[in-house]
Symmetry: C2
């Protein structure tokens, strides 16, 4: 397993929506397939809150990516035809400049001195990276979950930057239920005494090192951009807060219906339990614990807080004089597919309908796909059969 | 505001389902209306996890109860006709023996030495209290939320103890989504360093004092059963864990639909915010904080853990050789009304249908009421119009 990340140095200073600016910042990205001579076969993927740019295995990194089943030669997002780019969100610790990065002005890790981050900044950073590759217009912009919100911002702020769009399980604005969930996740982290107002020990692998040199870096050279700060085992870290935040995330990413079939009331074997009188007893509790353990020390808590809050702030109504519909109507694309899932409690189907209606009113040719996948919000990562069919079909039909 | 609680001393020892036993234990209850000479006009209400026995104001306590709009002279549960009893669950700190009570064997607060509590124990304690009033058969047994599960146990374990039943927003067994939510709530409390393995400072007002003398006590005398332990302001207490648990509870008790209409994306006024960069910004966050602040120090954390776990354990399938339906078929009543809400994510409508089908298969005359109230699980506390109509109508039709 190598490292396929390339790095794009953002214009410096990089001005941010809410008034801050970053100096010598960069975003990580990976690519698959070949950009054609006309440079018109590019597909950009913008990700959810936690995934990296490693959407699938490639020549430099053969480890499976987070959308491995969807992306590759002959797959729904067919890399024999498309030049696919996946950008790690600005503010994410998976290679891009984030609150765990070093502020060149001080030589210290940003932590909470990182400027206010919005999804518009995530979109602008991704757009700059795509432009640096000589791509004036994407054949398709795909956004999943939080990345779907970033994609709306991308298309609105950069008219003509994409011919078509696939919107996956996302929202044109954060609604109060989602805000409540994310607010509680942030609170669990912030109230953990080991968060220390953001001054916990940054973990190895989070991008806390200095930014790579300006200009697009090749993989390998770019790796130096990732953190090499060494921390002792343990250290001060908000494990509890991060664990609660992640478990709450997983609960809202899936669905009750799926779990009825999958876990029902199955108990853990006695040897899987601990002595704690209130410890894990049911399989569903063990499942959550597994998810939490894999996440807690692999995502930088401050970066999580920044991206989570950016999701709450996102609101297409800001661009439509208070109306989501009017905001969406300002997006200029030719075609779109909007996919949603009836079991998604975090980004409910009604919000997908809102996006479809808005893009249609804007003049796009819109296909709306409502799935009944039992897996809830995460269906796009699990129900590969139905998502492949929808996304693959759409991409085969576009030029 | 007085205190209308009466206390019933449970048989001592009081044997519990999972093998433990309590000595000199008691439950608190309140009553409204008059028991007739035939002693056949009694209605018992079993409550959700957190409410007290004070369902409505009465002569001894004129403060509004948790079901004030539903219960009283001429209301849906008409106290001019019915003798209504509301029992505080065994294990709850609102006057009944609970983990914050003093163990007579040691003179110390039980805390985690309290025996394993199940909803069958809650049901048995309530049945004993009702029997002590000379009531052989309830005209109707009403159970809301967790109390609906206790009610199923009550009817199953005490055949002939009720002629009719009203089941409100409950479940015949805990499903994995609800288990996951409750497990995470318990974890938030347990991981709070100030929980101290259950050894935090018990708060004034929680029932930590010794049990009242044996026998049914009159209000006033019975008040001595409530705690008088004085704690200093502050002290060691798992405020953070309780706050997270409560907020997560409120999120799952309500519905996204209600909040879209009620909070949308309304911001707090600047003076309502704090300086914390990740502090509250949206009204929905302030709403959750208000709920948490009212709850955190008014419900004993260990009692919360015990009742929460009891809810996870409850499973009618235990009584039906692994089948919920067969378990429900063992319940003997004449008539039932089963009410559920389509927006309830914690006790979904399908579980209400399961109860209705089971009771029907058992031979009861069952009315099933599916409401579309937007308030989610809490609709029974908020959508008084529809619940009054259903419950009032049912009670008027029964003899």
């Amino acid at each position: 397993m190598g490292d396929a990340r390339q790095y794009f140095a953002l214009p410096s200073p990089f001005a941010m929506k809410r008034g801050g600016e970053l100096h010598d910042a960069h975003v990580a990205f990976e690519t698959w397939g070949t950009l054609n001579a006309a440079r018109d076969n590019a597909v950009l993927i913008l990700t959810g809150l936690s995934p990296s740019a490693h959407a699938a295995s490639n020549a430099h990194d053969d480890s499976p990516g987070w959308w491995e089943a969807m992306l590759g030669d002959g797959k729904a997002i067919d890399t024999s035809r498309w030049f696919v780019i996946c950008v790690n969100s600005l503010g994410s610790d998976k290679g891009s400049t984030c609150p765990a990065s070093i502020d060149p002005a001080t030589g210290e890790v940003y932590r909470l001195s990182f400027p206010d981050l919005s999804l518009e900044d995530v979109a602008n950073a991704a757009h700059a990276a795509v432009s640096s590759l000589g791509i004036a217009q994407l054949a398709c912009l795909i956004g999943c979950s939080m990345g779907g919100m970033s994609a709306l911002a991308y298309m609105l702020l950069h008219p003509g930057s994409a011919r078509s769009h696939i919107s996956v399980d996302t929202a044109p604005q954060a609604q109060p239920f989602a805000i409540a969930i994310r607010s509680l996740q942030r609170e669990a982290i912030r109230l953990d005494p080991n968060w220390k107002d953001g001054n916990y020990d940054i973990q190895e692998g989070m991008s806390a090192a200095s930014a790579p040199k300006r200009g697009t870096q090749k993989a390998g050279a770019g790796c130096a951009g990732a953190a090499d700060i060494h921390v002792e085992e343990g250290g001060t870290y908000p494990d509890i807060g991060m664990s609660i935040a992640r478990k709450l995330g997983v609960i809202t990413y899936r669905s009750a219906m799926e779990w009825n079939g999958r876990f029902a009331r199955i108990r853990l074997d006695p040897e899987q339990r601990d002595d704690d009188p209130f410890g894990r007893e049911f399989q569903v509790e063990s499942y959550l614990e597994g998810h939490a353990q894999r996440f807690v020390r692999t995502f930088d808590p401050n970066s999580y807080l920044y991206l989570s809050r950016a999701s709450d702030w996102f609101d297409m109504a800001e661009y439509g004089h208070g109306s989501v519909h009017e905001g969406l109507k300002r997006i200029q694309i030719e075609r779109a597919m909007v996919i949603g899932v009836s079991t998604d409690i975090l980004f409910p189907l009604q919000q997908q309908e809102q996006i479809a209606e808005g893009l249609e009113a804007a003049g796009a040719d819109v296909e709306f796909v409502a799935l009944d996948s039992p897996q809830g919000h995460d269906a796009f990562l699990v129900d590969i059969e139905n998502y492949s069919k929808a996304i693959g079909g759409f991409l085969r039909r576009i030029s």
